[in-house]
Amino acid sequence: MPHTRTPAVAGWFDGEGDGFRLLGTRCSACASVHFPREDLHCRNPHCTGGPLEEVPLSRSGRIWSYTDSRYRPPSPYVSNPELPWEPYALIAVELEAERIVVLGQTAPGITVADLTVGMEVEVVPGVLDEDAETAWTTWHWRPTGVTV
């Protein structure tokens, strides 16, 4: 078992269990939300800019579209070439409050056969890959209320 859990990317998500959230930044001047986080300047061209504040994104949203990856993606995606390739699904999710679409892998065990456009999904903590020392953590989307 890995000894430590380390985010695969720093500052994009936080929390455990039901408290897990994606983290973006919000412009204090125009309220635009940025994910992945934008810490330098607001990207709204009409905005004069203000301090950018870290905000948790909505926990759930609706599927904009989905697909999967039936062939092993190339590096820098990490997978064990010794093991048979297990396709994973990807979901693009519309978050209503932020009016943004965020892509992510599905939780393990969820396939495209389980999904439809418009279905509600929620963000859950997941593991991208792991070695003997470290589990690299990420976010996953999972149909709301489903536990696999």
């Binding site: 695969a8 990317v9 412009c27 125009c30 309220a31 635009s32 939300v33 940025h34 994910f35 992945p36 990207r43 709204n44 061209p45 009409h46 905005c47 904009w64 579209s65 989905y66 697909t67 999967d68 990856s69 039936r70 062939y71 993606p73 190339p74 590096s75 820098p76 995606y77 990490v78 997978s79 994973y88 699904a89 990807l90 693009a92 932020e98 009016r99 943004i100 679409v101 965020v102 892509l103 992510g104 892998q105 495209v112 439809t116 456009v117 418009g118 991208l128 990420t138």
Partner: protein
């Protein structure tokens, strides 16, 4: 509306997996374009190259590399990188030089030797690069984005995998007639349906391959064309190189998320549609004026999207337009008479130039068995990673 520039010459190296250097491909295409133009290499005042990565040198090179291969002769030089839009932006740079009076006649070249399989980002640990991040965090290859667009069309417009397959059938039939195409075999809908799923709902034959290839153009001022005796050359009337408008609300390669629409209401016009609109506006023409279109069919489903973005039909009516035969040869607006990327594959810096080569031959009436009768106005449409627009309007 700006002035026209003349297309004096067009040339290609056949596309495929040839295992040779992009310099060789580009030089072959350049010499073919020069011969077609009837212009000597030493008369070229400027060379613009669409960039590729040269092995052993960690940079993007093109213009001077081709100039060296053709023999240094002191021409002005520029190199352009804009991902898949590199070729169109090289044409834009050449055209700007001609219209500004900096050069009378310019050689534009794009060539590549593509890697096998999926495109992937440059190496190293680079978490500040969105292209690197989408592979590292999501394993989101280009085909997965094509799959997202295809599934979205199915959900919103009712398109079916059978509709997508018909695009491949149409383009393969044209590619079979094109001596420069990599794939020169007709394909049936059953063959598409029997190919392996790559990114649900898209199959192997719905997605374009990677290829080696090269394309080149000789462009000039209208005065130079007249002096050369080219009385009625094909003319480039518009080149659209626009960026998206905030908020960009369609999830796009290589991004992990869209812009938020909280602060600014989206106009309803997508990035791809804005690329085409800018080209039409600059040309002073509209979709009703078109004889043909060459669009960027990275996937079969994406070709249907371009029908709508070019306003060849209304939103959601792309599959209907296809089924009616309007986009096939003999139809109201044939699309991808060259065979498209479905038949060529991707050779990134070359493909936007290759699209204009096809328009040139079609508008001259020299496209052989692929000829669209009476072609007078053509448009190309393409989109480069990271927000590079690309569309060219040519007329005769």
């Amino acid at each position: 509306m700006t002035q026209d520039v003349a297309v004096l010459g067009a040339g290609m190296h056949p596309w495929g997996k040839w295992g040779r250097s992009f310099v060789e491909y580009g030089t072959v295409a350049a010499r073919a374009a020069l011969a077609d133009a009837g212009v000597g290499w030493s008369d070229i005042g400027s060379v613009v190259g669409a960039d590729t990565v040269r092995g052993g040198y960690p940079g993007y090179v093109a213009g001077a590399t081709f100039a060296k291969a053709l023999g240094w002769q002191g021409a002005r030089v520029a190199s352009v990188y804009a991902a898949c839009a590199s070729g169109a932006q090289a044409i834009a740079a050449a055209r700007a030089q001609i219209l500004a009076g900096l050069a009378d006649v310019v050689l534009v070249v794009g060539a590549d030797a593509a890697p096998k399989g999926f495109f992937r980002p440059a190496g190293g640990d680079r978490p500040d690069d969105p292209d690197w991040l989408r592979f590292r965090l999501l394993g989101a290859t280009n085909p997965t984005y094509f799959g997202l667009y295809a599934r979205r069309r199915m959900a919103v417009h009712g398109d079916t995998p059978e509709d997508f397959a018909l695009v491949k059938v149409k383009n393969a039939a044209m590619g079979a007639l094109n001596p420069y195409a990599r794939y020169r075999k007709r394909v049936t809908a059953e063959e598409v349906a029997a190919s392996a799923v790559v990114a649900d709902p898209l199959r192997l034959l719905d997605i374009c391959a990677t290829s080696d290839g090269a394309a080149a153009l000789v462009l000039s001022s209208m005065d130079f064309a007249r002096r050369l005796g080219a009385a009625r050359p094909v003319r480039i009337r518009a080149v659209s190189t626009v960026t998206p408008n905030f908020p960009n609300t369609v999830l796009d390669l290589p991004d992990i998320a869209t812009d938020s629409a909280v602060a600014v209401e989206p106009t309803g016009e997508t990035f791809r549609a804005s690329i085409a609109r800018a080209a039409f506006e600059e040309a002073g023409l509209g979709p009703e004026d078109l004889s043909l279109a060459e669009v960027y069919d990275l996937s079969t489903a994406l070709e249907l999207q371009w029908y709508e973005d070019l306003r060849l039909c209304g939103e959601g009516e792309g599959a209907k337009l296809l089924r009616e035969g309007a986009t096939a040869p003999g139809g109201r607006i044939p699309v991808n008479a060259s065979g498209g990327l479905a038949s060529f594959g991707e050779a990134v810096p070359a493909q936007a130039i290759a699209q204009v080569c096809e328009l040139t031959w079609q508008l001259r009436g020299t496209a052989g068995e692929r000829q669209i009768a009476g072609a007078r106005v053509g448009i190309t449409a393409n989109q480069g990673l990271f927000g590079h627009g690309s569309s060219v309007v040519a007329v005769r």
